[in-house]
Amino acid sequence: MKLIVEHGRYGYTLDNLLYDDINFAVNEGEILSILGPNGVGKTTLLRCITTLLKWHSGHTIIDGVPVTGRNRTNIWEKISYVPQTSSAKFPYTILDMVLLGRCSHLKVYSMPSKKDYDIAMHALDQVGIAHLYRKKCNEISGGEYQLVLIARALAAQPQLLILDEPESHLDFRNQILVLSMLEKVVREGNLSCIINTHYPEHAMRLADNALILGRGRQYLFGKAADIISAENLSDVFGVKVKMLPFEYGGKTLSSIIPLEVI
């Protein structure tokens, strides 16, 4: 599927806009990474894209059809959203939690069937934690929990996966675990993907395109390899940055080190 944001404008107050005329696109099978400093509106942008918040002007266009108030809930048949942390207040089992992802495919009065259980279980298997299905959500590690949320998103069988900083509370190993799992399922399923991250390295490693949000409604959109550069990062984040590129597994990765505040 193809998602386009056209002339997007939004701000919590009218005289303090976060974005004014923002434009970008995600094509089928593409990963877009969104970068930017705290408070610049990365999460807000995801909420606007998915129309959880309403654009002041401009549109989100999905497969050529603008999303309006009327077809707002229908978009969740194609899009899955993984929030930063989940708000589950009850310790549901992992399978029960992943099963909730089937909601958009079920009628209001119907219950999940055997088929839905199978799909949920398959999603858990895709992210490699099928063996945990009977555990409770409060009995597993943060990394595993993030995989549960990704599995729940996959259980909805989306064409576009949107994730809000999926790796930000995780340690070293779990970050790489979650990211590589994510890359695998997205590439295997030829899904489109939008991912917010605080780590430019992760964006370089994962993404085809990048969108860098800066202060004062500035933004950069382009090939990740092109626009994630020391100059752009130091401009946007206000720190002196050193990039050390190296080869790993046939790919050029970079170590990106913030040196001092400008």
Binding site: P83, A88, F90, P91, G128
Partner: protein, 352 residues
């Protein structure tokens, strides 16, 4: 670990994942057993054979060989009362579970949205005005629903969607307002005739339940119960934050309004016939979470069974313990509070 072998071993999992068979059987049989036994309990002694004979005779319209008093005690006094207990107990427990789920808060009871205070005011006003039983019930129902409508309206003052947080606060406001109105009515009511009636009524009692009452509220409570049963799986999604729930593809405002309507109908109808019965809707969901876990798909049916049994047993105590009727709210708390404390000490407050 090899993930594929886990998938294979999982084949039977959905069944294993539901309520275990033994628990299921107990949850189905227990209400039936307590239902049958309750006919024989009470200050007026009717032997088990007589109970059986009378019920059998009434069912098949056989000529009765039992004394007329026995027949009327069973058929006119106990039968509708027992059914009402099952209905109200089940309804209040399910409403409590649904609202605790929706608010993501274990302290929530069906009273949270102001329905009991509103219904209590309606009834107290009707008693003050020397209204008929029918008028008391209608006014209780009417003001109970009004109170929730006010709560909902307040929660949307800021425009847009009504958040759970605003609903709770609005419920507190509405409850406080209607409780003050109840106090005014008690203050001006005749202290020798009307005040005791009002006070007694507000504590909840099944003493005067008739077939007519049952016919009036059973469809309303039944409607709410069926609605919550249909929505039970979706309550899991409503227990999440707004954005997360929306992104799972649920229409959150419509779903929330449905739950509020079902719970309000159950609670207002209950209060309109048997006064304010506290504590049931608060505790039974917790007990049921300990038995079947937090998944509302299992929790709601469990509440139906356990809630019905609990209120019926409490009412059996209320009508047989001493020679005068004990108000229900006194017993639900006196019996329920220590029991709940015991459960909490066992489970450490874990919802599972």
């Amino acid at each position: 670990m090899d993930p594929v072998s886990h998938i294979e071993s999982w084949e039977a999992a959905p069944k294993r994942h539901g309520i275990p068979l033994l628990t299921k059987v107990i949850l189905v049989l227990l209400p039936l057993v307590v239902f049958v036994l309750s006919f024989g309990l009470g200050r007026y002694n009717v032997s088990p054979q007589a109970v059986w004979g009378i019920l059998w005779g009434q069912a098949f319209n056989l000529p009765s060989s039992y004394p007329g008093t026995d027949t009327s005690v069973i058929m006119v006094l106990r039968f509708p009362r027992i059914l009402m207990c099952l209905l109200v107990g089940a309804g209040l427990s399910m409403a409590g579970a649904a609202l605790q789920g929706m608010f993501g808060n274990p302290l929530v009871s069906p009273q949270i949205l102001g329905v009991s205070a509103g219904a209590g005011f309606g009834a107290a006003l009707a008693i003050l005005l020397s209204g008929s039983i029918f008028m008391i019930q209608t006014m209780a129902l009417f003001f109970g629903i009004c109170a929730v409508a006010i709560t909902y309206a307040i929660s949307r003052f800021k425009g847009g969607d009504s958040s759970v947080y605003m609903l709770v606060l609005a419920g507190v406001i509405t409850s406080a307002f209607f409780e003050a109105l109840i106090s005014i009515i008690k203050y001006v009511a005749d202290p020798f005739s009307k005040l005791p009636t009002i006070t007694y009524w507000l504590l909840g009692s099944m003493a005067n339940v008739s077939w007519q009452d049952l016919m009036m509220v059973a469809p309303i409570i039944g409607f709410g119960i069926v609605g919550l049963i249909i929505m039970r799986w979706r309550l899991n999604i409503l227990s999440l934050d707004d954005d997360e729930a929306r992104s799972l593809g649920i229409n959150i405002n419509a779903s929330r309004i449905m739950v509020i309507i079902f719970c309000t109908l159950i609670t207002a109808a209950s209060v309109s016939v048997c006064g304010i019965v506290g504590w049931v809707g608060l505790v039974i969901p917790h007990i049921c979470r300990i038995i079947v876990g937090p998944n509302h798909k299992n929790l709601i049916p469990a509440c139906l069974s356990v809630g019905a049994v609990y209120l019926l047993m409490i009412d059996n105590l209320a009508r047989s313990l001493v020679s005068t009727e004990i108000p229900l709210s006194i017993l639900t708390a006196l019996v329920g509070a220590p029991f709940f404390a015991y459960l909490l000490s066992k489970s450490g407050g874990q919802w599972s």
